[in-house]
Point group: C2
């Protein structure tokens, strides 16, 4: 048995070019370390550095980075004040270099073109964003033929889907500009949020479909023949995504066990995805019983594009046919706040019913995670 | 329209805390840059650094890192010789710090506890590891109830699975020690390899099931309630994974459209996964028509564990019942080479038929990608 253990250790050590050093490294430098009191300590071994800072959204508003201090043996560290329960991002700044990942923390999320380290402080919201000891839903990177091309989307099916014969309601959840079909899952913690809300009975069991809202591309960078470094500034506010959407819904209804009915179908999105949700839901007044606009980029769109024409008439049709919930959420500091005020004034002028949720903060994922958790609890009940 | 464009630019810029700087950054520093001649240039803006090196497996054997040179304005760079078509990993070393990711390259893979940047040189092998303009299979992170717990696995279904009523053969593909159910997909490029081999008719359409071979855990780090920093040195060579395996096969046969027959079922794995494949296939002589041992950690296992007892008798039963392909592959420099020589001697002594494939190199993913691409082309024909 002892020989076997030695061999096992050798396999681990030799298992890859870098495994050995990292197994030891991860034992020697722990970063970040989350204390029981919610204080977080970042550490970096950088004996020759002259200046090391940690930048992240755990710092007070307006504070970009915190200075780390050097121990005699070259280990830099910084300990925060107690942090409230939340998911936080950070990166390091070393001698004028920015966006350096913490080499002791393998947990990263990509947001647009940046990889950022993250950590989660448990408790209230943080618990919602962490995998808990509950049943987990399955997440598929689903390729589907639509609009003449195979396109990629991410589909969450709730725990038990495979063993049931039931049909489920569907939420279509759309990303913002620069994002893609991976965004809600990675930075939005969608799977964890849904698992936890469903397990505690706070949300109905539902399928969540996360599409790629950029019709010029078929998939997130790296997952298609379009290559790995295609431009990220490739939004889709030209009407093409809205025009494609009925094909997406048809494909999902054909291939998943959905309840293919307006009162069991929702659409929501953040920023550009909020724009898309507004536009698509008014184009398809029979399709969506629930509409969620999170920090929505509410604009009329290019009037020359048919889909963006006649906004008022289409909204009138949508609201006269009925919407169970039209939910508008935005933070007080959001740069799109005024555009949302204008849009609500337009709805108010006609007496169209909607629910308004105003939060602290700006155009950030911290708000969008809260919004999606609140919105999904109101669906399909 | 001009106003819309300005607003669009604002949305992108404000879309996240870090999007703005990175959109600009990615335009100013390009790294890595792959030239038409296969030379790769790495760049890092580090005006105050005294020493910057790039470490990676593109360097000559025995060479750990290459020294980058500084331009007047603080941009460090290094250009390789022309590289052969392959997927390569690298990280940066800056003033004594190791394992620093390239902040200009958002493409990373996690191997055990390390995040490494990667790039792919197209051409022969590299083309096989890149997404091409072909139909793509769907990849599901599938949770399944087995052995009394919900466990996570990764399931590849070939393009067209959703639209067909056919049943498919299944390859069970197992990771090495320290790895998990994500390993074959991330570092092994399994989805790209299968898409490309199937699209060109070189491999049969098949389902590939990638399990988590560590029974102490239910999922890769971060995806379960076991937390995000659980120990990585958590192999499973105690018989528990082998004992669980029939439950896994039963679940897959119950929930996917499989051809539930020995001649349409394969098992293969790398390192510890090769050990598992050897042990499981001899425990279940009716189950697997194809067995692949890639750089296998071929040991007898602990004789006190029933599953590991009576190796010779169980191999005799397995080979007398018949195996369509028993494939053993290893690199000449692999530290497990001698153990594989011994195992082949044992098979030779009894005249059991197997196919042997010896390659250059050692215990590395570069070999395992080649092995899986060769092995899958021989299956189910």
């Amino acid at each position: 048995m002892k020989r076997l253990l030695l061999i096992v250790a050798a396999i681990v050590a030799m298992g890859s070019a870098t495994a050995q050093q990292n197994l030891w490294k991860s034992q020697s430098v722990v970063s970040p370390e989350i204390g029981d009191d919610g204080r977080v300590t970042f550490r970096l071994y950088a004996p020759e550095a002259k200046s090391v800072e940690v930048a992240g959204d755990f710092l007070a508003p307006g504070v970009e980075s915190a200075v780390m201090t050097r121990s005699e043996d070259g280990l830099w560290s910084y300990t925060t004040e107690p942090l409230e329960s939340e998911m936080y991002y950070y990166s390091l700044r070393i001698d004028g270099m920015r966006d350096i990942n913490d080499p002791s923390n393998p947990y990263l999320v990509r947001d647009v073109a940046t990889q950022m380290n993250y950590f989660i402080i448990g408790g209230t919201r943080g618990d919602l964003y962490m995998a808990q000891d509950v049943k987990h839903g399955t997440v598929a990177r689903q390729w589907a033929e639509m609009g003449g091309r195979q396109r990629r989307m991410v589909v969450y099916t709730p725990a038990g889907y495979e063993d049931s014969r039931r049909s489920y309601p569907v939420l279509y959840l759309l990303h913002g500009m620069g994002g893609d079909e991976e965004a809600w899952l990675a930075t939005g913690r969608l799977a964890e949020i849904m698992d936890n809300l469903i397990a505690t009975g706070k949300a109905e069991e539902m399928i969540v479909v996360m599409t790629n809202g950029c019709t010029r591309h078929v998939a997130a960078p790296g997952y298609s023949h379009e290559g790995m470094w295609h431009p990220y500034m490739s939004g889709s506010m030209d009407g093409s995504f809205e025009a494609l959407f009925p094909d997406i819904v048809e494909w999902v209804d054909d291939h998943y066990r959905t309840i293919a009915r307006k009162d069991k179908r929702a659409i929501a999105g953040l920023s550009m995805g909020g724009f898309h949700s507004m536009q698509i839901s008014k184009e398809q007044p029979d399709m969506f019983g629930y509409v969620g606009l999170f920090s929505a980029a509410i604009f009329r769109g290019d009037e020359g594009v048919e889909i963006y024409a006649d906004l008022e008439a289409k909204l009138e049709r949508q609201f006269s046919e009925g919407v169970k919930l039209y939910w508008i959420a935005i933070g007080r500091d959001d740069f799109l706040y005024d555009e949302n005020v204008k849009f609500r004034a337009l709805l108010d002028a006609e007496g169209y019913p909607y629910t308004y949720r105003e939060s602290e903060g700006g155009h950030v994922w911290r708000n969008w995670r809260v919004y999606v958790a609140e919105f999904t609890q109101m669906l399909f009940k």
